[in-house]
Symmetry: D3
Amino acid sequence: MCHMRFGSEPLPSQDMIKQIVAVCRELLFPGFFGCDNVNSYNLEYVIGLQCERLKAMLESQVAAGLCFDRPCDKTDLGDIFARAEAITRRFINSLPELRSVLHDDVEAIYNGDPAATSYEEVIYCYPSVKAITNYRLAHEFMAAGVPIIPRMMTELAHNETGIDIHPGASIGRHFAIDHGTGVVIGATTIIGDNVKLYQGVTLGARSFALDESGNPVKGVPRHPIIGNNVIIYSNATILGRIHVGDNAVVGGNIWVTTDVAPGEHRVQAKPSNVAAQKK
Amino acid sequence: MCHMRFGSEPLPSQDMIKQIVAVCRELLFPGFFGCDNVNSYNLEYVIGLQCERLKAMLESQVAAGLCFDRPCDKTDLGDIFARAEAITRRFINSLPELRSVLHDDVEAIYNGDPAATSYEEVIYCYPSVKAITNYRLAHEFMAAGVPIIPRMMTELAHNETGIDIHPGASIGRHFAIDHGTGVVIGATTIIGDNVKLYQGVTLGARSFALDESGNPVKGVPRHPIIGNNVIIYSNATILGRIHVGDNAVVGGNIWVTTDVAPGEHRVQAKPSNVAAQKK
Amino acid sequence: MCHMRFGSEPLPSQDMIKQIVAVCRELLFPGFFGCDNVNSYNLEYVIGLQCERLKAMLESQVAAGLCFDRPCDKTDLGDIFARAEAITRRFINSLPELRSVLHDDVEAIYNGDPAATSYEEVIYCYPSVKAITNYRLAHEFMAAGVPIIPRMMTELAHNETGIDIHPGASIGRHFAIDHGTGVVIGATTIIGDNVKLYQGVTLGARSFALDESGNPVKGVPRHPIIGNNVIIYSNATILGRIHVGDNAVVGGNIWVTTDVAPGEHRVQAKPSNVAAQKK
Amino acid sequence: MCHMRFGSEPLPSQDMIKQIVAVCRELLFPGFFGCDNVNSYNLEYVIGLQCERLKAMLESQVAAGLCFDRPCDKTDLGDIFARAEAITRRFINSLPELRSVLHDDVEAIYNGDPAATSYEEVIYCYPSVKAITNYRLAHEFMAAGVPIIPRMMTELAHNETGIDIHPGASIGRHFAIDHGTGVVIGATTIIGDNVKLYQGVTLGARSFALDESGNPVKGVPRHPIIGNNVIIYSNATILGRIHVGDNAVVGGNIWVTTDVAPGEHRVQAKPSNVAAQKK
Amino acid sequence: MCHMRFGSEPLPSQDMIKQIVAVCRELLFPGFFGCDNVNSYNLEYVIGLQCERLKAMLESQVAAGLCFDRPCDKTDLGDIFARAEAITRRFINSLPELRSVLHDDVEAIYNGDPAATSYEEVIYCYPSVKAITNYRLAHEFMAAGVPIIPRMMTELAHNETGIDIHPGASIGRHFAIDHGTGVVIGATTIIGDNVKLYQGVTLGARSFALDESGNPVKGVPRHPIIGNNVIIYSNATILGRIHVGDNAVVGGNIWVTTDVAPGEHRVQAKPSNVAAQKK
Amino acid sequence: MCHMRFGSEPLPSQDMIKQIVAVCRELLFPGFFGCDNVNSYNLEYVIGLQCERLKAMLESQVAAGLCFDRPCDKTDLGDIFARAEAITRRFINSLPELRSVLHDDVEAIYNGDPAATSYEEVIYCYPSVKAITNYRLAHEFMAAGVPIIPRMMTELAHNETGIDIHPGASIGRHFAIDHGTGVVIGATTIIGDNVKLYQGVTLGARSFALDESGNPVKGVPRHPIIGNNVIIYSNATILGRIHVGDNAVVGGNIWVTTDVAPGEHRVQAKPSNVAAQKK
């Protein structure tokens, strides 16, 4: 019966994953998240201590994650802890590069919104910074082959922001989302550089193959490929393994299931005027 | 003046309703929510103790709910507590059946998403499981005639997941929502079995009758009736007491105010290409 | 480097702004939010004490906000505290007027939803009451020239409700939002009286001028002007400095980039039937 | 079996009694205990609100206390709540008089210790102020016939300070204890005005009558009567229903089981010098 | 350097030992300590669940304790966990017997104090019940050879009650302490049945052998042996490996370094009257 | 009226002083108190960060302390903050020396108790370590002229341990207290090196001069001077400005108001045997 979960290794803890994300945000944006007394005197201590904390939390949670999708008998544990330790080390070493990537995302969000008054406001107030940060963290663990934890991380952001980015998606640099509530980016989506999405945009699957027993075939590419310098307006729905070419613009509230050419501006069919028709 | 609420019986407590929902989730999915040390040795104790806690919390909150929509003078209290006790007992007895219904919902979500790797991932990470659970709990209290508490329960899920299902809606088995942010299901909606909704779908009212003093007439059926085996894609808006027939598919971003025939595939009008027009 | 924030005056605290909003909600809707033991005996004490608490919290946070967008050297501090004190006093004095405005909003929401059973249910359960309250609080601080804090307040509501109203927007009386997830109202939007929005409605900017270095020009009016008595259905996207005239109705899932005349009913182009086409 | 307590009315809650004492201390010494932001602007609100809170907490706890020493069937409840309400009202009305009595105790402690630098230091740092306050509160409830709660109050102070004053003792004005750890004052002790005790002083019972079944006879006067202006030094043990007359001084570490005359200075027998004896 | 503790196995946690003691008190006196909603319906669930919790906490803490007094290399861990598991199992099996022993202690305290109104008051309010309970728990772990944890348990009671009983002491049944602040019972003390102590009694060591390097020799019997039916009054100090015979009474404030015969009543030398001498 | 404290500068906060003491203990005994994950990798970060935290907390609390005993008008504030900053800096610089002094105290306690099994047990379980640490911290602030805070620190230890050492006392190295409940050391006491006290020892004042208005004259030396290598047994009371010479031993339960010669062993008068007398 699928409802019960007990008698085996514990699940990764929702609460611990929340803390791990919080510490990562503090390390990536010191002074904005977490300890609010960071200053030039204690910065080194805060960073050092939080890296140590992060290491301890990650090792135990990654190990729990590695046990998630198969029975772990006790003889595996040595191996699992060794893998968890290696994955954790690699992840912590990747934080400076993540910081650089996120810097470009902040810049893209700032440049894309006339209402933003400073980089600081973007980091502190824009939910898309939280959602993109969680996605980029989760994507690292996905790439390292850790089960369940990447999804827990992006669902935390989904809950906070209404932005649902699957950790399997591949997203380039200078990525911006504005407002963001309702955005969905599916697991096999590929997005280029300098792409900007508005709230409610779906990059989803249209339909999917079933196997002989009628269950969906897992792992088939089924989401769109978005080029560079693309803008997609609010509530546009783009479905299936189609291409949206470089420099294309997709208008809002549109249902797109065929390729959009490079440079194309595609918008909804011209609205009818009911009042006029009624006359 | 509508802003003040004091001097009478207390409102049901937002915090207590939150705890009640948390205990119900723990009872319906032991090991996934609540106490994370459930195992085959202590399962019986945990279930027993949480049922006792649930009973105590529910009796007081249901009683507070029963006082919500009319002045309760002290002489009613005996009767109100008796009703609260009976409703609570009936609700707790219904939990095994709810567990069975939710099992089918989890299965439907799993089968509907190639990105889902296991039932466990669905239960632990998919916000729609939380939203559908809260709805099904709330619907029981709605059916039992308890004011306000059903709405508090579904609003808790709305806050957590962005999915807003009115507790008055009637929804069949094997119900799936994917992603879910922005979904709205109105109070008089009727949904069959094996229905799947994507994010942003609205099943709403188009317009409604006003009484002679210009206020909306309450309680009139005004939301859609959805048949069996229907799929509705993201951001579709279906309004009014119309029928969407069995096996129909409604494309995304579409505004539907007329019946959809059984088996019909209805999508947005073909998009225009502004770029082309500009040339 | 934009990621670091330390060595200068502290940022306004996310946690303190959260408390400030909570106290304001308690003062505006006593008995519904905050202390749940308010009654006719202690009401005066609760109000008095919470006003005092609000004053202390606001003065320090407004001062931190005034230091946000420019380096504050120590010699400015006297002046900054005097401004913070004056702004706080003016804000607290405006609370009774805000209460009256919010009363009308509650009434508009109640009248606009046949599913609402009482004003109490609207205040206690409807997320739009929280979002509109935060917006109206934030708008006061925006008008007083306080940086960052208004955005923090509306983002708190965005996180809670999925409704994203920029504090710079100008919104008339009797304003209603139903369900609300995904609503976006941009910084220079102007909205009349008796306007009602459904979930997913965007009042946004279409494009914006760049300065000679390619950055967006800040502060240009770029969002719609909505007249009185307008209804906009779910997921409609209205972009640019266009006018939607009095008494207009905009259907759902529509992409609007041109003026809508007074009294006009504009809906999406008639949908095509793929099933039919397939035959 | 004495270890089990269930199936009947709940015991008064240790945690609630702690809160009740905390609120009383705040009302008796505003600004020193509890809310540390009391000032001349909000004093009235704080006092008003805390009196209301105190009333609600006391009524429920006094009622639980009244059920402590006998089975309460449901038919008694109306009567019990009426008594609890009357006792609570009388207690709150007695707070101003208690405040005056405690003022004199603080003065006596200050005058009795050259190390005390101000009344403020005495109130804020001297454990005897806490112990005497709890005793005087508890004595009121003892006089009102409330079971168990008085003992809970004095045991809270015993735990905090090591000073164990039975709530049944009768103690005059201007009462001072210095340091205080180990002080014990028995249930039928009577103490005059201007008495000062040091740490470790016992005012106890020497022996007590047994009834025919060998159990101690309850309620017999068996502790000392201390006159006015008496000083008792550290670790003195005074046992039995004896008199210590006005203006007497009892030296430390002395075992006293006979009357001490007015004005008498009684000290331990002259010590022997073991070293000398060894020679 | 003795001040640093790091780089090795963790110390047993003060906080966890506190929780372990709290759960034991709840199991030994259900309804008085811990969960205050125990009733005849949920008693079995509470007991079952708390036993499970206790087992998990004890196993990890006992293992940490076993590593306390010597370096634990990793190869020992299997053995240590097996010992911890066996000790824990034996301890939990001993709880019913401990319950019976503590019942007699409660009875002895009740019979020894005319001020006690019921067994319930004794359990709920008398600090000696807490101190004796902690001692009896700690003594079990001492007997099982667990380092440090027994001392942590008795120090918790020392902090709560001012009663300091070394876990190594051996104490018979029907043991009573009244008031108790300042009581000290040393590590090699032996106490018979039906013994009653008042506050401030010391059963200590007088002097102790030093080894050739001047350090005290550990483990030598050096504290008194107290017979059956002995009463010792407040602040008596009894030092060295002497015998206090059956039915003896030791008066307060006395310094005893020689045997007290069975049935002997020994009190302080008759006090001198300084006032008289002054004349 | 002495009971009210409001309208002026805030008192130092009991809670903050508690945190300050906790951080000092963590810095003086890393791994034993506070963060329990200290290891050789993060030690430097923990120390660095806690020093920074300590500095911030101390500066604000010392400033509040400096305002305690006289009205502070706003013009003094610059001066007060400068003094607080200097005192804080000096205190933090003194921590390594304090660590060395406390090391000797731990050694003395270990050597003085055959029941102690290791330095680690002494640090982790002996209340005297906490009391002596708080005293030595408080004495530094006393020497720096900070009002009230030293007393708050020693009262925290008094509450925890029953040991009451006035911060004004002067105490040499290798100082040991065993058990400790009820120990009192007065404000002008002077204690040499290698002194050991047992529980209940009082080093107090016998009487004190009154000024012409009958109030005690403050600041007069009135407590004992204890030499080197002195042992004082439990419950001894030593009063007045007398000398206890080097190598003296004072027996328990004795009342001492005259000098004790170097090397003297003074004990209580030989006890009488009441039973014998009765015959």
